[in-house]
Structures are given as C-alpha cells and as structure tokens.
C-alpha cells in the first residue's frame, strides 16, 4: 500500500511538471501569436498589455517550478495533497489569466476563448471528476463575468479591428449565442474527457495491482525454489561425501563389482550436485536485485579462468591461447560473476571441441565496452537452434548426442550475468567448424579511458600450451605412477 501511494505521488509530480512544460509552450505561442497578429496581420491589439501578461505568466510558471522543486526535493512522501493543491491552483490561475488575456484581445470576439476547452481536458486528466466540473464552472463564471462587464460597459472593450468587421460585444444575440456554445462546449469537454480518464485510470490501477501481485508470487516462488534447492544440496553433499569415502577406499578394499556400482553412484551424485548448483545459481541471479560491482582487472580474472580449464584442455590436446589488449584491462562489475561466466564459456568450448583443436580467447576495447571473444574449433551449433541457445534447459541437438549429461543452464546463467552488467552476449557458429561467443562488458569511466589512450601500444600476452606429445607423455607417466601406488 505504501509503495502504491509513492507511485501515485510520483505520477502526480510528473503531471505537475508536465503542466509547467505545457505552460512554457503556451507562453511562447502567446508571444509569437501577438507578434504575428499585430505586425503581420495588422490586427489592432493591446500589444503592451499582452506582452506584460506573457511576462507575468513566465514569472508565475517559474514560481510554480521552484515551489514544486522545493516540495519534491525532500523525501517524496505524503506530498500527494500538496501537489494536488498546486495543480488545482495552477489550473484556476490559468483560467483567470486566460480571461485577462481575452479581455485585452477582444473579449468575446476572440475565437481563442475556446482554448478554455484545453484547460478542461487537462483538468479532467489530472483532477477528480468533481474538481473538473468545478473548474469548468469557474471558467464559465469568469468568462461570463468578463463578457457581462464588457456588455454593460463597466470595463473597457478592446475591439479586434482588422479581424472582425465591427465591435460585437454589444450585439446581444451574438454574445448570448457564443456564450451558450462556449458553456456547453466546456461541460461536454469535461464530461467526455473525464469519462475516458476515469476508465483509463481504473484500468491502469488494475494493471498495477495485477503486476504487484504477480511480482509477489514470483518472489515467493523463487524463494521456495531457493530453499528447496538448498536443502536438496545439503542432502546431496552428505551422500556424495559418504560415497566419496567408500570410493576412495578409505574404509577398506572393495571387490570389482562393488567398486563399479559405487563408482557409478558416486559419478551420478557428482553430476546431480553440479546440476543443483547451477539451478540454485540461476535462481539466485534472478532473486537478487543487485550485484555488488567494483573495478577489477580483467587480465587477472581471465588468467584464473584459463588456469581452471587448462587441465581439461590438456587432456584433449586442445591449444588454449589468450590475447588481451592491455588498454582493455579494467572492467566495472562483479569479479566473481564475470570469472564464473568466462570459465563456463571456456569449459563449454573445451567440452565441445574435438581433440587437437583450439580455443582462443581475446579481449579488446570497443568504445565504452570491452569485447571478449571465445572462439573454438568445435562441433558448432545448428543454425536453426542458435536463437534458443541461451534458453533455460535448452541444449543443442549435436551437443546432446556428444555429451548426454549437461544441465542446459550454463548459457542462461552467463546471459543473466552479462545482462546484469549492462552488457551483451552473442554467439556465432558454423556447424562442424566452430563457435564464437562474444561478451560485451562495460568498461571503467573516463579516467581509465584517458590512460588507455595515452598508452596505446598493445602488450599481448599469449599463453600457449605445451605440445600435445609432451603432454601425453606426462599423462602416461602419471598413470603408471598411480598403478604403481595401487600395487604397493
């Protein structure tokens, strides 16, 4: 409910500012109109008085602006009545000023009298129905009084010579007729405008209610998922730990059959834990409103990501290279999340690249962004599946064939993280040739940009893996070593 009133309040304030903007436009229109009518169309006008009114109007608008600024500067709570009052006073004042304006420009002879209708429409949009009718009545009374006084010659009448052939303010039928049309037009305008406005307001309110309800439901659902996943993870951790003890033969030797079955159970538990972890991560990403952001070094982050996947790349003899332009080093964001994203993309690249392939990472500046590209020579993604690749639980058909187990959540998490940073993630791929993921992440502010410009030369650091043969030799020797251990 509190949120509601704050939203209502900010809407009112916005409308009040809108009114001020409209008035600036009206003042410009008035000055230009007087100038054109008086100097080009040669209509007799009380120029001086009209320009004065424009000046008064400008002064008055400035005052309203200041008052409104002052009101909204403090904590914008409970200003609703004050702002409403300001809007009401403004509309009444506008009506008065328009009446004075009409007085100095021909009174009932001036067709601009019908501009009162605009005030009625504005009132209907901003105020309640009753207030709108009251404003209409006020307008009719003010204009009626003006016309009556001029008719009775109690105040002077300034004829619009050059526009009407003669002065009409004493012509009873004309005055009565025009006033009748004027009055009915005003009330009809209020009736129609408030009819629409009330309906719109009601619909808007309904939408807002529904939206709040929906968001609440979504939150409850997310929290539920988070708690459940977390509990599941607790059980899994216990299962995996117990199985791990047995698999590692810490409780004594196992026969082949036992070792095989427990090994299978253990492997599945590890996979399930990974799945739950990703599900939990995704929910957490959605649930948390803010990621803590700081400046951090991209090259350090990339280095630890590379270190994390190096072993996996070596196992498949995949060449892993990185090329980071030094001016693209500082990034503003959550280091933990960015490292996670880059590591996941690298792991994916390694997973879906056949032996002896290559995975290349590059980072360079691109306007206010850093562009990170991870390019592999892997199996690629079918063209028609590219649009779905970031969807939750989606897995490309060829990836599914190659690797049955996989969560289909990794890329959704990556997209969530990148979009949270105000960045963008894209993919390009050719089936059988390879895939390139590109991340665009916002860079640090101006200082870093200036530094980077001053130090333009590129220091490229390239990490190249040991040759495949060398590596295979190492793996073999490690295997022998462990066999020897077992024998002992």
């Amino acid at each position: 409910m509190k949120m509601e009133s704050i939203a209502e309040n900010s809407r009112l304030v916005k409308r009040a500012y809108w009114l001020i903007k409209l008035r600036w436009a009206a003042i410009l229109f008035l000055v230009a109109g007087v100038f054109v009518c008086s100097n080009m169309l040669c209509i007799t006008l009380k120029d001086f008085a009209l320009y004065c009114i424009a000046a008064v109007l400008a002064l008055y608008n400035m005052t309203v602006l200041l008052v409104l600024n002052h009101l909204t500067r403090g904590n914008s709570k409970a200003h609703c009545p004050a702002v409403k009052k300001i809007i009401n006073v403004q509309i009444s004042a506008d009506l008065l000023i328009l009446a004075v304006l009409l007085h100095f420009s021909g009174g009932i002879e001036n067709p601009f009298a019908f501009y009162f209708i605009f005030h009625m429409i504005i009132a209907s949009i901003l105020l309640t129905v009753l207030e709108s009718y009251l404003q209409a009545t006020f307008a009719v009374l003010v204009f009626g009084l003006l016309v009556l006084l001029e008719y009775q010659q109690l105040i002077p009448h300034y004829c619009l010579k050059g526009f009407t052939p003669e002065c009409l303010h004493r012509d009873g039928l004309y005055v009565l007729g025009t006033f009748f049309v004027f009055t009915t037009a005003l009330y009809l305008a209020v009736y129609m405008a408030s009819y629409i406005a009330v309906r719109l307001r009601r619909a808007e309110y309904g939408y807002r209610e529904a939206n709040i309800l929906l968001r609440q439901k979504d939150r409850i659902k997310n929290e539920y998922v988070l708690r459940v996943t977390h509990d599941i993870k607790g059980h899994l951790a216990a299962i995996q730990s117990c199985l791990g003890v047995v698999v590692n033969k810490l409780t004594g030797p196992l026969n082949d059959r036992q070792e095989d079955l427990i090994g299978r159970a253990y492997a599945r538990t590890v996979k399930l834990t990974g799945f739950v972890r990703e599900l939990l991560r995704l929910t957490q990403m959605r649930l948390s409103n803010k990621l803590q952001m700081d400046d951090f070094s991209l090259s350090n982050t990339i280095r630890s990501s590379l270190a994390a996947v190096q072993g996996k790349a070596e196992e498949k003899c995949i060449t892993l290279t990185s090329d980071i332009v030094s001016s693209a080093d500082t990034i503003f964001g959550n280091q933990f999340a960015i490292e996670e994203t880059i590591t996941n993309l690298l792991l994916n690249a390694v997973k879906y690249t056949p032996e002896n392939g290559s995975v290349d990472l590059s980072a360079k500046e691109d306007d206010d962004f850093v562009l990170i590209e991870i390019k592999d020579t892997g199996i690629g993604i079918p063209q028609e599946e590219l649009p779905n690749i970031f969807d939750e639980f989606f897995r490309a058909s060829n990836a599914l064939k190659l690797e049955r187990d996989g969560t289909g959540l990794g890329l959704s998490i990556a997209r969530h993280i990148v979009e949270r940073h105000g960045g963008q993630i894209d993919v390009e791929s050719r089936l059988g040739e390879g895939t390139t993921f590109s991340l665009r992440l916002p860079r640090l502010g101006k200082v870093a940009t200036a530094n980077a410009a001053g130090n333009r030369e590129q220091t490229n650091c390239t990490i190249k893996e040991k040759t495949c043969e060398e590596h295979k030799g190492r793996i073999q020797s490690r295997q022998k070593h462990s066999e020897a251990n077992q024998l002992a």
Partner: protein, 132 residues
Amino acid sequence: MEKAKILIVDDDADLTEALKTTLESQRYAVVTASDRTEGMEKVRAEKPDLVILDVMMSTWQDGFEMARELKKEPASSDMPILILTAVKERTGIGFKSTAGDPSWLPVDGFLDKPVEPETLIDEVERLLSQKA
C-alpha cells in the same frame, strides 16, 4: 608420532561421519560437535589442533561467529580454522579472496561442500604444517 587432533563442527551427522572417516583413515584423532555451543565446549575440553567449521548451522552465520569467538580467545587464537560450506552460491561471495581478512572472516582455509576426500586431506595437511 601421534597425529594431530581435529574437531569437526557441523549439524549434518552424515556429512560429519564421512569427514570423520576420511580424516581417521589418515590416522588423525577426530572429535565432533553438532552445534556452536557444543563446539566451543569441545574446543576447551579437547584442545584440538585444527577446527573444521560449517557456516550454516542453526543460523546462517553460526560458523563465522564461532570463528570470530575462537580467534578472540587467547587459548585458541592460533588454532587454524577451516571453513566448509555450501553457501558460496547463495551469497556469491568469493570466499577464497576474503579468507584471511581477520576482521570479516577470520579463517585460515575455505572449502566448498561437498569436498573430495583428497582435497580435504591436502588442505588439512597444509594448515597443520603452516602452524608447525
């Protein structure tokens, strides 16, 4: 030589059993406690050489608070603390980078749950050798 004594404080009995078996297979003496109060009692009574702490027990930060308490007491201030937790995903905090910051997280090591027996043994050995 007698191997070190290790205290495990975790409210998950099954997980504790697995950790205990792992460490006992390396001939460590293992004592267990299922909450913070019991943990503090065992620290005083058993004088372990190392404590393995779960973060989320009855409250989500029980482990952290116990770690701070241990570091405050002169008798246990130089005893290594290894935090074992599953909350990394929940908080998104990179524990590794903050481990060792005495004001916020006064622990010496951090491992993510579930932990491989080998990793656990390595980490315990590292912490004990650091102390020696």
